[in-house]
Symmetry: C3
Subunit: 170 residues, 3 copies
Amino acid sequence: MRSQWLVIGGARSGKSAYAERLAQSHPGELVYVATGEPGDEEMRSRIAHHRQRRGGKWRTIEEPIALAHVLRKECRAGRFVLVDCMTLWISNLLLADKPIPDAVEELCKLLPQLDGALVLVSNEVGLGIVPDNALARRFRDEAGFANQQIAAACSHVVFIVAGLPLRLKG
Amino acid sequence: MRSQWLVIGGARSGKSAYAERLAQSHPGELVYVATGEPGDEEMRSRIAHHRQRRGGKWRTIEEPIALAHVLRKECRAGRFVLVDCMTLWISNLLLADKPIPDAVEELCKLLPQLDGALVLVSNEVGLGIVPDNALARRFRDEAGFANQQIAAACSHVVFIVAGLPLRLKG
Amino acid sequence: MRSQWLVIGGARSGKSAYAERLAQSHPGELVYVATGEPGDEEMRSRIAHHRQRRGGKWRTIEEPIALAHVLRKECRAGRFVLVDCMTLWISNLLLADKPIPDAVEELCKLLPQLDGALVLVSNEVGLGIVPDNALARRFRDEAGFANQQIAAACSHVVFIVAGLPLRLKG
């Protein structure tokens, strides 16, 4: 049985913790796909914080770009795969100058073919003032479009505010 | 019968597409009121993108400022009028140094007198960090107050996240 | 009977007005705890605006830092206490270089021991683009974590958009 979740929320909204709780009663193998790269001190500290909270039950895969490839390989019946997060993946694609709409489309076409439980964590970044710089505006646009398409392809979507879920779909 | 919607969401949240889908089964004439002015390349590209998605079924009116005047003229039984978007209208009023609270009040008093279906699209812009510059803070304040008053005057309000609606009213 | 609300929303979302309406039918004494300091003209004007809307029925206490101390003293059976807002409190702690997680934990441990009705107003600030400057990023992180913990400790949580509530808890 397929079950694909998009867990979307703001920075420090508790979306990762919510996504990890979805795995709690899962009997199968837990796979954590980290799209963030430990580039600077802040990011290293965030990654360490997340890793500590998850504990030792997860097998971790780091993949900044080739997400569809990893999911095709890892998602299967009886497994629980969590990707944290889609927004860093979009950011990585942007910085590597990859065509983002193509990558999002490839991913969204793949989703219905995958087996097992999959949870995608993403940031909503479009609810503030228009950013001053053009790259931030482009990132905001790409992330927003990606979230719409991924939400359309998932069976369940929740919006997290202050650690609590608002059910958008499923 | 009156039906007045506020469709509110972030940048690239799918709010315009959602608003346009509300028109899909409407039997009457479709009128699109664009408040944005094709000032720069980015805005021109956005306007072209929206126009292409809507297709040829809509009559389009461009009006950056005198929105109440246009709605008084265009809204009538059997018609579907979509305004995209209220936030650009607020921004236009601000840049033209018009009294925004007066304009919002005039609009909100007008709404109960209008016939037909009316959908107002707006941005929520207050969910990020306080902006550095004073004009952005003032815009954020004016847009937020306007959204509250327009929501109070509409029969239906939905908040769009990742293309999916959360029902706030109606 | 205990009733503890977190009312969370964006800037100019109508969260304070919503919080004040919760007090309308309350038969007991109304206490308003203001965490903002009238440091500059903008803040003075906001404080005056809020004070005018509340009218004369409230007893007002100003406390930028020692919030737990005030609540321990003021919250009791039959009273309605409103704190506006938690985000300014976090900001005050940050600027005074106080340990924020400790202060939040102290507050959250205190909540179950308090009697009467308590409403905490807070801003969601994590739904925009990552801020450029490190202090803003730290503030966003601290405010987000605080909101999660306070939401977990409250009996009721609502998210306000355009003046309208989305029920998150209770």
